[in-house]
């Protein structure tokens, strides 16, 4: 899987209230949520972001609540991937569960700048900065996570599992 896009850069500890404020959680419609993505971190962001863009952030991205609305809002806004130094753990599992590929890389988070064009080789864990002509490595994705992403997320994975182990034929 190769992901290519333009970068929006954020800092450390971007919490789920910044990604999708609780005041919009009286709905779980992805399109509605996407209208407010990252709004409390950057008011203009929902108007600026384009399909295919990539978010780069510092440490502890997605900290705070367990709301799956956060990765859903990101995905529904067309953002292909998030690269951060580290992720809060519930955000991490939610992203894989809904099939949003995310990557951890200190180097990429430090060196990539707003507006850079990057290309992620998900299988190899390599992030290329096309604008700067640099290359960084991301932490390898654990095999189980690869399994989840290639199954298309946890629901499809569970569906398969139920068929094979819970309802033996």
């Amino acid at each position: 899987m190769i992901l290519k896009g333009k970068v929006w850069k954020f800092g450390d500890n971007i919490d789920t209230d910044a990604i999708i404020p609780a005041r919009y959680l009286n709905t779980s419609d992805p399109k509605e949520l996407a209208k407010h993505v990252m709004e409390d971190a950057d008011k203009e962001f929902p108007g600026k972001v384009k399909a295919g863009d990539i978010i780069i952030a510092g440490t502890n991205f997605g900290c705070g609540s367990s709301r799956e609305h956060a990765p859903i809002a990101i995905k529904a806004a067309g953002i292909q991937s998030v690269i951060a130094k580290s992720f809060a753990r519930i955000f991490y599992r939610n992203a894989f569960n809904i099939g949003l590929p995310i990557f951890e890389s200190d180097e990429a988070a430090d060196k990539i700048e707003q507006g850079d064009e990057v290309e992620i080789d998900a299988d190899k864990g390599i992030i290329r900065n096309i604008t700067k002509n640099e290359e960084y490595t991301a932490k390898p994705m654990p095999p189980f996570m690869q399994e989840l992403i290639s199954a298309g997320g946890l629901i499809k994975w569970t569906k398969k599992k139920i068929k094979t182990s819970y309802q033996p034929t």
Partner: protein
């Protein structure tokens, strides 16, 4: 092994597990609320399972925007109600019977020591106070677990926090955990299990333990846990409806890090905007004026918290520049507070008292802040926009400090009042 590793091992039928391993484990209870259950329900239907794994092990609690604050919230709550009827769920709590989930489930004896609990709510880690492994997950995890009774986990490394020394007056579980988060930071325990122990913890009452474990997530923790003892035994004995088991940590268990705190040096503290780790002694913040005080939430909305606030505010009036909102966390707590005359104390002080709800804690309803307003709250998060407008501010404290601040119209300590 640590208590966390033992509980996880038992739930995947293994003798042993070690940190870093990915396991599939059986869950004892699955929880979701009016924000997270709707997604879980939609995803569950996609799986095509013929039934839920166990109708008495799935708890649906509408508490965030309930009593339904607007039409959209009402539609979400209705999804929980309809699904609960369709699948005959035994643990659906309707308005009038509900409370804030993390206060309600332990109170009702629905969670027992040794359990493995997942909830589509980050503060699910609260139940570690009972000696259970409990962690917040997403709605999709809940959907999958509702079908299979299982969930995937990475076995966390454990980090030990040892508390010793006598607690100062007006210092409680909230101060200990805020102090700890202030020390290690909001990602200081990322992916880890936080195990609280030491002589101070062993004499700490259950409500304070629940407050501490509740905020493990605010340090990035996967869970907070306290090895069960006589205090646990006393708390669960009179409530639980299922058999339970006490697990302990082995003496030679491995911890990635051990930290010690001398509690006699910890004063009442406040977490300043906009991170729970931005902790300062309350006594250094007297110049901070406030517009609103909130006493409630899954962190500090229990009867002991209300007693503490009432003790400070009894016979006094809320400052004319301040709105004070008191929210008992469950119906049972509400009733008990009426019986003890606490509600009268609050109303006489000119505070408003609400039916149980999360409400202002997440900026939902029942006390949302305007631009530029400032609140002190006994809740657990003070992120940008958490209680309302992105340019409002939230300070976090224990109930006594919050009540004292309500009287003074600025951040205050109970000593100034009593």
């Amino acid at each position: 092994m640590t208590i966390t590793e033992k509980i996880l091992a038992v739930h995947c039928d293994r003798e042993e597990v070690s940190p870093g391993e990915l396991i599939n484990a059986k869950v004892d209870l699955v929880l979701a609320n009016d924000i997270t259950a709707p997604i879980a329900i939609t995803e569950f239907k996609k799986i095509g399972a013929s039934d839920v794994f166990d109708k008495n092990r799935i708890a649906f609690i509408p508490d965030h925007f309930a009593p339904q604050k607007d039409i959209k919230a009402a539609e979400q709550c209705k999804m929980l109600r309809d699904f609960s009827k369709e699948y005959n769920l035994g643990l659906y709590f309707e308005v009038g019977r509900m409370g804030i989930e993390h206060a309600l489930l332990p109170e009702q004896g629905i969670i027992v020591p040794g359990d493995l609990v997942i909830g589509a709510d980050s503060h699910t880690c609260t139940y570690g106070a009972l000696g259970a492994f409990a962690t917040g997950v997403g709605s999709t995890d809940v959907a999958s677990a509702m079908a299979t009774g299982e969930c995937w986990f990475k076995v966390p490394e454990s980090m030990k926090f040892i508390y010793y020394g006598k607690l100062n007056r007006w210092v409680g579980g909230k101060d200990l955990i805020l102090y700890t988060i202030g020390d290690i930071g909001v990602d200081g325990a990322l992916y880890r299990a936080m195990e609280f122990e030491g002589e101070t913890i062993r004499s700490l009452s259950m409500h304070a333990r629940l407050t501490m474990c509740n905020m493990a997530i605010e340090a990035g923790g996967k869970s907070g846990i306290i090895v069960p003892d006589e205090i646990t035994e006393k708390y669960v004995k009179e409530r639980v409806k299922r058999p339970y088991k006490f697990y302990t940590s082995d003496r030679n268990a491995d911890y990635i890090e051990i930290r010690e705190y001398d509690c006699s040096k910890i004063p009442p503290v406040v977490a300043c905007p906009h991170l729970p780790s931005n902790v300062k002694p309350a006594a250094e913040l007297f110049e901070v004026t406030i517009d609103q005080v909130v006493i409630g939430s899954c962190t500090n909305g229990r009867i002991e918290d209300l007693r503490e606030a009432a003790e400070v505010i009894k016979g006094k009036k809320v400052n004319p520049n301040v709105r004070m909102i008191v929210i008992p966390a469950t119906q049972k707590i509400y009733k008990q507070a009426i019986k003890e005359g606490l509600i009268e104390v609050f109303i006489d002080a000119e505070a408003v008292v609400s039916t149980p709800t999360c409400g202002p804690c997440l900026g939902g309803h029942m006390g949302v802040l305007a631009k530029g307003e400032r609140a002190i709250a006994t809740t657990n998060r003070n992120f940008v926009g958490r209680m309302g407008h992105p340019e409002s501010e939230v300070y976090l404290s224990n109930p006594a400090v919050a009540a004292a601040s309500a009287i003074m119209g600025r951040i205050a300590t109970p000593e100034e009042i009593i």
